[in-house]
């Protein structure tokens, strides 16, 4: 390869001939630094880090991740606490935020930056430089062709220049026609290197966008029960995670309310399955000081409110349940979201009544929107659609519900281990069964429970992130740069007059499988053009 291509690429790039003289002088501290830097920015190190990055990502798919599957992590912890501790000590439940994973990609990016900065400078110079001098001997270059000619050197040079120009080459004439050594040196495909540099620089931009820009965003989840307004303050969220630089003042002041929820299903006769076809949540939104405004929320169609987006994730039923003491005073009343267990919205839920009755009482049970009783006496839901016949079946427990200790307790789960079961199972009293509108006496004369009515709920993801636009810009640059760098050939072509013959040859700079064909084709075209000129 020519010396021009040596300076910009790492020493172990294939475009560089074997590195000269490996004999190393003794290295001082600065020498060691230079040595280390050269190692870090070498192709081999970049390749090694890339493969290491691929390997390091694998555990992130085998073990549930806190970011994408928090419930999976909790479940893992419960089913296998010992293995959990081992894996957790390596940070495997948040693989992509661990120091070792970060170390790999940061080293990779330092290596990348160290590689592209000198290349950018070199490319910038190359863009302004003339195509290099024609080599003295073309014989050993790609596609070497030598053809006799009767045309004058001037005509050969002029035609070659025009033709090469029209093919996008930059051209330069060397030598003098009179001395019989005229030649045209041409180079094209500068965009290949430009694209390559843009691609790598955009990767850095992407990393900064995600790493720094993403730190200002937040994401939170909330169950919205029909009719109950939500205000965008941190305490209103069921779960919330803010980025590294997030501050609570960044929460835009707005309110949301679920007015209605429509779900369309199609019944598949062959499989007996109800397939969802459409979910539409009718919301009202209000910016602070404004009026409520209606808007439809669908899957794949988030609702923007100011700089924040609201996404529809899930839905279900929330029976309105009221528990009264023996005197008829309500000690608990409100809609209780039941979490979906199967495609027919057979759902599970929990009611906790810590105060007001003779003992703390907890209920745990199932909701069937469209109940059918099986021969063994258990229920199933035939469809996800409520026809006013919906059914609640509840087990009841008394004892310490664990709500007084001040630690966070999952509102959707009831741990019965330390409780006394008073209805359902082996309790002696049957499970409570309530149709909409039913009131049922609690065992041990604790009071009554009423299933007053049914509401829908949706779970929404509320998300603020200013980076997607930038991420998209860099993604487009990445793709564009990649296409240029992979598919534009960078090549040099020379046309030389040697006595009464014309010589043609090319030189690939980077991957260029079609260079020989291109040189042959050019030689043919050039001859045709010359013939035409002489005839004309």
């Amino acid at each position: 390869m020519t010396s021009a291509s040596r300076s910009d690429r790492p020493a172990d790039h294939v475009d560089n001939a074997d590195a000269p003289g490996v004999a190393q002088p003794r290295l001082g501290p600065l020498g060691y630094l230079r040595f280390f830097w050269r190692q870090l920015t070498s192709m081999r190190t970049a390749l090694f880090l890339l493969l290491l990055l691929a390997l390091a990502a694998i555990p992130g798919s085998l073990v549930p991740q806190t970011t994408s599957d928090p419930n999976g992590v909790l479940q893992f912890q419960q089913t296998d606490p010992e293995l959990y501790d081992v894996l957790d000590s390596f940070g495997l439940f948040s693989t992509f935020g661990t120091p070792w994973f970060s170390a790999i990609y940061l080293l990779l990016f330092i290596s990348l930056v160290g590689c592209i900065i000198p290349r950018t400078k070199h490319h910038f110079d190359a863009l302004r430089a003339r195509p290099p001098k024609t080599p003295a001997r073309l014989q050993k270059l790609v596609g070497f062709t030598s053809l006799p000619t009767t045309a004058s050197a001037d005509a050969v040079v002029a035609t070659a220049r025009t033709l090469l120009r029209s093919q996008g080459y930059r051209v330069e004439t060397y030598g003098e026609a009179s001395t019989g050594s005229a030649s045209v040196s041409a180079e094209r495909g500068y965009l290949r290197e430009t694209g390559n540099l843009v691609f790598h620089a955009a990767l850095v931009g992407m990393l900064l966008t995600v790493g720094v820009g993403g730190g200002f965003g937040y994401t939170g989840q909330r169950v919205l029960v029909q009719g109950e307004p939500f205000t965008n303050v941190r305490a209103s969220y069921d779960s919330f995670s803010g980025g590294r630089f997030f501050q609570e003042s960044a929460l835009e002041p707005f309110s949301l309310r679920l007015d209605d929820f429509d779900a369309d299903y199609a019944f598949d006769v062959t499989s007996g399955v109800w397939h969802p076809e459409d979910f539409t949540a009718s919301l009202s939104t209000r910016l602070s000081g404004g009026d409520w405004e209606p808007v439809d929320l669908k899957v794949n169609a988030p609702v923007p409110i100011g700089g924040t987006d609201v996404y529809l994730l899930g839905n279900g039923y929330a029976p309105v349940i009221t528990v009264r003491d023996p005197d008829g005073t309500a000690v608990f009343s409100g809609p209780v979201p039941f979490l979906q267990l199967d495609a027919n919205l057979w759902s599970r839920g929990v009611v906790k009544v810590p105060d007001g009755l003779a003992d703390q009482v907890g209920f745990s049970g199932f909701f069937y929107p469209d109940p059918v009783q099986l021969t063994d006496g258990t229920f199933r839901s035939f469809s996800p659609v409520d026809h006013g016949e919906s059914l609640l079946t509840l087990f009841a427990y008394t004892g310490d519900l664990g709500l007084d200790e001040g630690i966070g307790v999952n509102a959707y789960a009831l741990d019965p281990t330390d409780l006394t079961q008073i209805a359902g199972g082996d309790a002696g009293a049957p499970a409570l069964e309530l149709r909409e509108g039913d009131v049922v006496e609690l065992p041990e004369e604790l009071g009554t429970i009423e299933y007053e009515g049914l509401r829908r709920y949706i779970s929404v993801d509320i998300h603020h992130d200013a980076t997607p636009v930038w991420a998209l810009v860099f993604a487009v640059l990445i793709l564009g740069g990649l296409l240029l760098s992979l598919f534009i050939p960078r090549r040099r072509v020379w046309v030389k007059v040697v006595g009464d013959r014309i010589e043609y040859a090319g030189l690939a700079r980077g991957e260029d499988p079609t260079l020989a064909e291109a040189v042959a084709e050019f030689a043919q075209k050039h001859r045709d053009a010359l013939d035409e000129k002489m005839d004309g």
Partner: protein
């Protein structure tokens, strides 16, 4: 109407498998003939009769295959790539399409037994194990990005499959050139290993560009559907791994000492990761991309 069309579609799939299987047999016979020719000291001049038959059968099978996909799409009323069975039909059809298209550029018919073998295996296993009746498109998939993202991902898979096959041929050939594998005489009729490497590289970089687009399109869709463009979901992790492995492949091709066999191994590892992403990740890993349609 829908069920009739779906039934025709399934019949067409099984017919395509049968035709492909015949094509596979003919391609294998062609390899046998090449071995015999090499033994007899004759060069293989042009395509053998077996190879011409095999190639014609491949085209016929592909036409039936595509017809089946079109029928399924018409029956479903949406693009026919929304569950595991349909992904498999599309993936194999596009693999054959890439194989046929590359043929227009370079003679790669020697790869026929590998490609057809792979397709018969994948399509057969999917038709038997993954078949699901047509279902309406769930709300999560009702997006124009389904058409683009999944199609381009599947097309990239086709390029990686052909690239993987060429890389395997390259490894075998280079071993033969080094004096080994003398019993695989048919390799003598294959292009030289550096030629194979050049074709493989061309095919793989097209796949890599498409895969990059898949990642970006997927991120845009995820942003729309889930509120984040990147969340390290299992499928996202494996898409990332595949991307990084092929980025490694491209770097290896530019690193002294890594051209030739080492980079070919990377191309094969990359294709293995693609297959893993499509099969094991879809079936056994939980995640947000849960669209296999299987219970």
């Amino acid at each position: 109407m829908t069920e009739t069309l779906a039934a025709y579609s399934l019949v067409a799939i099984y017919s395509a498998i049968a035709v492909y299987a015949l094509a596979f047999i003919a391609f294998v016979l062609d390899l046998g003939k090449r071995t015999a020719d090499a033994q007899a000291g004759e060069g293989t001049a042009g395509a053998s009769r077996f190879q011409r038959v095999a190639f014609a059968l491949t085209i016929l099978g592909w036409i039936i295959h595509v017809a089946s996909i079109v029928l399924r799409g018409i029956a479903a009323g949406h693009v026919p790539w929304s569950n595991m069975f349909e992904f498999a039909c599309m993936g194999t059809a596009l693999t054959i399409a890439v194989f046929l298209a590359v043929q227009l550029w370079r003679d790669v018919r020697f790869l026929g037994s590998f490609i057809l073998g792979l397709v018969v295996l994948l399509l057969g296993l999917s038709a038997v194990n993954f078949y699901v009746p047509i279902t309406p498109l769930p709300p999560a998939l009702q997006s124009a990005w389904l058409v683009i993202h999944v199609f381009v991902a599947t097309l990239a898979t086709g390029f990686f499959a052909v690239g993987g096959g060429l890389s395997i041929a390259q490894l075998l050939q280079s071993r033969r050139e080094a004096g080994g594998l003398q019993k695989l005489r048919f390799l003598r009729s294959f292009p030289a290993s550096d030629k194979l490497e050049a074709i493989a590289n061309r095919v793989i970089i097209v796949g890599f560009a498409l895969w990059t687009f898949t990642l970006i399109a997927g991120a845009i869709w995820a942003e729309r559907a889930w509120g984040r463009y990147w969340g390290w979901d299992t499928k996202e992790v494996w898409t990332f791994i595949v991307w990084v492995v092929f980025a490694g492949y491209i770097h290896a091709r530019a690193t002294r000492g890594w051209r030739g066999n080492p980079s070919a191994w990377l191309a094969i590892v990359g294709f293995a990761a693609v297959l893993f992403n499509f099969t094991v990740v879809n079936l056994f890993f939980s995640g947000w991309h849960a669209y296999s349609g299987l219970k």
